[in-house]
């Protein structure tokens, strides 16, 4: 079983501790949902895991082997879809696919996705937010990375795109270990297999929607 584990992640910005000995793990076949209020450190944790932000302390294990976030990024163990657009905006969708996938079969999997096929001739800058999000997720989900970090995939996209994205995430669940953060908790709960919340730098397990109340994430369910 492929597993990504982090232990004792500590991150402070000056005197403010954002992550206080955070420990979690995700295995292939799981979608771990990470909730938390704005500024609680969700995106910080994902960036630390991807190696684009340094932690004060981190122990990272990929399939039981100790490594560093930067090394796992460079050897393509972990992919990260940030919440802001990251694909070259001047490029057409059909030109980006071969940059990510040299293998023809994988190219076709993205190219002939029933939805993506309808906008391959368009530039990334011309896509709607929902189209772009869906394309980003499909592009990276078809890559070789066993673990995928997705920051706010459901934010600001229309309901039809959300449904499509949820369907896709459920379909790739078997082949990837995914960590997802979003404030659209109802959508995330539909696809997640484990749920945790970050509060005051600490991780707490969520089993029901009512637990989100307990940790002051919601005022009412």
């Amino acid at each position: 079983m492929q597993t990504l584990s982090i232990k004792n992640v500590h991150k402070s910005f000056g005197k403010k501790t954002v992550l206080n000995n955070v420990t979690l793990s995700v295995s292939k076949g799981e979608i771990l949902a990470l909730y938390g209020r704005n500024g609680c450190g969700k995106s910080t944790l994902l960036k630390i895991l991807f190696g684009t932000l340094k932690a004060n302390n981190i122990e990272l294990l990929v399939n039981g082997t100790a490594t560093t976030p930067k090394a796992s990024r460079l050897n393509k163990s972990i992919a990260y879809i940030p919440q802001h657009p990251f694909l070259p905006s001047s490029q057409k969708v059909r030109d980006i696919i071969p940059m990510y996938h040299q293998n023809q079969e994988l190219q076709d999997a993205v190219f002939y996705d029933p939805y993506i096929a309808s906008f391959t001739a368009r530039k990334v800058s011309e896509l709607s937010l929902g189209q772009r999000r869906y394309f980003e997720v499909v592009l990276l989900a078809n890559s070789s990375h066993p673990f995928l970090l997705i920051d706010e995939p459901f934010s600001m996209i229309e309901p039809l795109h959300k449904e499509r994205l949820k369907g896709f995430l459920n379909s790739i669940k078997r082949t990837k270990g995914i960590i997802i953060t979003d404030h659209y908790y109802n959508d995330v709960l539909e696809v997640s297999t484990q749920n945790i919340i970050l509060k005051d730098g600490l991780i707490n397990t969520i089993t029901t929607k009512e637990d989100l109340l307990k940790y002051d994430y919601l005022k009412s369910v």
């Binding site: 460079l74 393509k76 990260y80 990251f86 694909l87 940059m99 890559s143 990375h145």
Partner: protein
Amino acid sequence: MNIRAHWQFYKDCFPFIYSFALVCLAFVDALTGLFILFTVANGIGFLAFSSLKSQEFYFYYNLGISKLKLLLSLVIINAIVGLPFAVIFIIFKQLFFANA
């Protein structure tokens, strides 16, 4: 090596590199301008990309390409692309401005 991705990065930095080199040409002689094109302008292009399109670094990170590799490929591709331009420029200068 993912040549398409490195070429894409160069294309995105190209306007910054050449704009800077052309502006410099207004203040320095031609050979110094070419020297700037192959050296400092690369750094300026990289810095401009870092400032204006920093989010797009994630596109390359997901391909397993580090910033250092991007900078190195930028220098190499700029040398390859700029060399014919430099040769034509020098020949043109010798032919038409040799006595200037």
